[in-house]
Symmetry: C2
Subunit: 432 residues, 2 copies
Amino acid sequence: MISHCYIEDIGTHLGGEILLKGWLYNKRSKGKIHFLLVRDGTGIIQCVMSEGEVSEDVFNTYDKLTQESSLEVKGKVREDKRAPGGYELELSDIKIIQIAEDYPITPKSHGTAFLMDHRHLWLRSKRQHAILKIRNELVFAIRDFFYRNKFILVDAPILTGAIGETASTLFETQYYDEGKAYLAQTGQLYNEAACMAFGKIYCFGPTFRAEKSKTRRHLTEFWQVEAEMAYYEQEDNLELQEKLVEYIISWVLKKNKKELELLERDLSKLEKIIAPFPKILYDDAVKILKKEGGDIEWGSDLGGDDETILSNMYEKPVFVCNYPKKARAFYMKPHPEREDLVLCADLLAPEGYGEIIGGSQRNDDYDSLVQRIKEENLPLDAYEWFLDLRKYGSVPHSGFGLGVERTLAWICKLPHIRESIPFPRMLYRLYP
Amino acid sequence: MISHCYIEDIGTHLGGEILLKGWLYNKRSKGKIHFLLVRDGTGIIQCVMSEGEVSEDVFNTYDKLTQESSLEVKGKVREDKRAPGGYELELSDIKIIQIAEDYPITPKSHGTAFLMDHRHLWLRSKRQHAILKIRNELVFAIRDFFYRNKFILVDAPILTGAIGETASTLFETQYYDEGKAYLAQTGQLYNEAACMAFGKIYCFGPTFRAEKSKTRRHLTEFWQVEAEMAYYEQEDNLELQEKLVEYIISWVLKKNKKELELLERDLSKLEKIIAPFPKILYDDAVKILKKEGGDIEWGSDLGGDDETILSNMYEKPVFVCNYPKKARAFYMKPHPEREDLVLCADLLAPEGYGEIIGGSQRNDDYDSLVQRIKEENLPLDAYEWFLDLRKYGSVPHSGFGLGVERTLAWICKLPHIRESIPFPRMLYRLYP
């Protein structure tokens, strides 16, 4: 019996007979020679058959096959230097599994809304394939980084009673008879409890922001890896972030060269991402932006356009440090010398991509944290457990969150974040 | 300067001076010798100081230190065969970071409700520490298994318009102006789209079931790894599941011996978990259960007690195969010779633990799937994309989902699933 083989492993079967199971990606014919491009999810290979060398039935199957028809093919693997993967299949048999109806995504170009409505099929295209294969490596690289550095994975809950960031962008659901539950905007508060138990921890899951933003940087549901370290000051925190970003970029450069080339990514830009990264103060960033004609005023958060300007000024990611207290979440540690600032930093990816990491040292003082929770009009009782962390052996601690999709968008140089996640959720998008 | 070191790495500093940063776990004194048990999240070490060998100030610090006070200690690492980790610290200096208020979790025993209300602190205890360290390895082992076997991670969305399992156990939220969104009960439907694009894929994230169950096996929010493979029949599916379970058990046995011993787990039970696993038909399972005095009738799903009886009959996990169609979700493939059955299997863990995996071959036929969606009174338009997969190159395909917490509960032999996740969500539990 001829055994089933995946296209990505075809090189190990050179000269042998194999069975492929997949779909028709495309076809062309020179009359007496038919070419089938077959994909199986791990690659695409050209299959060739000549009239007279296969049965008439098999030869004529060519005419029936439509784009994305499912089929099994048998044949002999031969080298072909001109072929994309370096191999070609000399067809001996074809078995049709299903003749596909008229496939909606044809080689001609389609509008974005149409492709998004067909995301379940669009995933089969070469470009989406390349992006999500890089995503696969990116996520594994992140987990590998933390595992090797002996961080413990402590998954934070999604359904929570405590608000992590701002009350204005919450999804809520009825939680049995217990009242409202919110979908987590961040796992950070739970991370703080976990780092007091395990020293160095991370969580890695989906997070949710009901922001009514329609920008190329916003998803309603996005994946975030968040690390939290006991006894880390802000400098230790930044150093760890640099190492993480350097690690994942070097991993992707090693594992995804083929995919990055398909996306026509300029690899030299990524090869420059080596720690340390430049750091500027928020105060100075505002001055720079004003000089560049931005309409930012001291005290407000940086907008998307502001980030674009700053991030275009550097070849490496740049940290913007110490934002105004009033522009940031309640849990950040006040600056020891400037009470209007907090000890925090955003990491902006270069080439105009903007924020990929937000991090800070956390407020470890009971009284001032209570005051901040009150200032933000958050319900104290929901944070009782969070405040406990400041009663029972409070320590300096810091952490950060890296957005997977924003990081992937930068790595792949995508024009819009919607391509960086298998099934994007946005303001007007819940389907498929 | 003396450099900071984690307790887990202390063996590499034998004879040297180090700095530890952590919390007081416990203390005792023999008058002229004080013993501090210090934990730092990576381990616990005994620190010793004798009167006269440290300054009076340092010696008297002992009296001030309460349980869970945060502190930094300096000292010399020496071997001590009687100590749990094999090492002990000869203290030279102590710096108090914070004297903890009366710590609520004392060495005396506490009720479950109390401990659950203090989950953020309970995580610091030895037993919870051991469980969650095993969880850390378990999750990494699962990801490693799929990565090595060249599966592509394709994260499924949490917010969905389509119902994955049953309409009766859904959490819902308002999704902007787009109507209701549901929290995913499973990523499977999306996995089916993804496996047609990538061949072999998995998703791994939190899933949600609003079941009003108060059993030792149910969480409202639980983590699930779900794999889906194009061109896999049910037999291929079961074989993959066996390999996965064998892989993670052998991983945990290698990495977590210390933790399993702390939990007093009988390792010989786990060492027997080697593929292949026994398989019985649902039909036969019902006969067995009736003979054992169970009140199950053919046609209904197995209850928790039924699973317990079956799972106690084997030393290995056991597959229960081919359930009645009416007891199972709409997307399963009908049995080719018995139209009242579907091609599916649940894997029951031994020692009474019951279901850890549910899997099936999927219905790949357009017409019969439409009929099943209608029979279940599900809205056809929300499944349009799912039905597309049966139009454009439908292929045989199969998949399964493994519940992380149930698997961990079995591995650790926990009496209740609530200890298997950092912050459990249950019928009456949304805090902390």
